[in-house]
Subunit: 192 residues, 2 copies
DNA sequence: ACGGGCATGTAAGCGGTTACATGATTCG
DNA sequence: CGAATCATGTAACCGCTTACATGCCCGT
């Protein structure tokens, strides 16, 4: 249940409304940790009930700003230091790659080209963000330092995937063109 | 709903039981696309109803092997060529990094060290797998070629994360102590 | 006055995890 | 004979997404 802790972490910087939090999640974390507004509003309600946050102020258009409590601060710190990282990743692109052998070579080539393009673009978005940060556009508070690290992670992961897609294009296609016939025959049983 | 297509893809290699599929998902895809057995059995049931697979044979201990049908083959090919890739990623490690500023410097250092270790280990597991493959241990069928690409993706993603964690350790801590540029060499003018 | 963005929510449904439950077979 | 592993499932619950629904306020 990390959305809760993500919200608490953002609120640790200062009061914000559900709408604000939704936007901030989108900005940097959007491609790394998606969070839709219904989930956010629901979670905020639950956290008020649990005493982790409370309502700071009411604004125009029914706006409600939330403020983190001491219990909330303690909870986000507990999460950061005590709770094991959930290392689950779920990359559909890599799942698909397991089944590339079912695709026609030129469908596959097109697919990999599009994939490479997508990841390259994502990496560029993050890199541009990093450059704006390094140019001092956001100041140099501890929060911004942390954000810089997150962004760097985005750059590196997307660059890795972009390079992977380009590598895959050169790996698979020659195998389909030039011989490389399956002369093995014995292979079939599972276990490796 | 990619679990369905993953199962179909594996069944395209030949008949298998739910238990087999569960194990095969674990092996290579375990860290890239988790799939628990209850979900697998449920999905197999639904796919039989939908005519994408049917029961191939009954074995000992109530074992049921499933065989892909023509409709199933068509469906997995449709998925591979027609359906847009779901590019959603969800990396808790990067979400957390956004809140590093809330951590004590030595908690953070310990955290990043453990993270680096974990990702390095994962990368090593995949790299070892890749080497066994490249040594010809699994033959060189098209399926194995595809698997090789998946593995390469695993290596690259985990290596990227490992390097990121190591970079982060050199980036953040000098800022807390007394300045000094990160090894990476990229500009960070506003860095303390 | 009106359109776009601010702002908050509800409800249905899906996909996934965890815990529970059971039994057969093989191997030592 | 007992333990490990094979093998299949159900049920409860959780987290998340999508679609639906509403209304206000600001700028032009």
């Amino acid at each position: 249940m990390s959305l809760r802790h993500g919200l608490l972490g953002l609120l640790a910087e200062g009061p914000a409304s559900g709408y604000d939090l939704s936007r901030r999640f989108q900005e940097v974390l959007g491609a790394l940790w998606p969070a839709q507004h219904p989930k956010i509003y629901a979670e905020l309600g639950r956290m008020v009930d649990g005493g982790l946050i409370d309502i700071d102020s009411h604004g125009p258009r029914g706006r409600k700003a939330y403020r983190i409590t001491e219990a909330g601060r303690a909870e986000v710190r507990r999460w950061l230091t005590q709770v094991d990282v959930d290392h689950t990743v779920r990359l559909e692109a890599l799942l698909r790659s397991y089944f590339f052998w079912l695709m026609e070579p030129d469908d596959l080539a097109r697919h990999l080209a599009r994939e490479a393009e997508f990841y390259t673009e994502q990496a560029a978005i993050y890199r541009a963000y990093a450059e704006r940060k390094d140019a001092g556009e956001f100041g140099s508070t501890p929060q911004v330092q942390s954000m810089r690290i997150t962004i760097e992670g985005g750059v590196r992961v997307y660059e890795a995937l972009a390079e992977w897609a380009r590598w895959a294009a050169t790996y698979k296609l020659p195998a389909a063109a030039d011989g490389g016939a399956p002369e093995d025959g014995t292979a079939n049983s599972d276990d490796g």
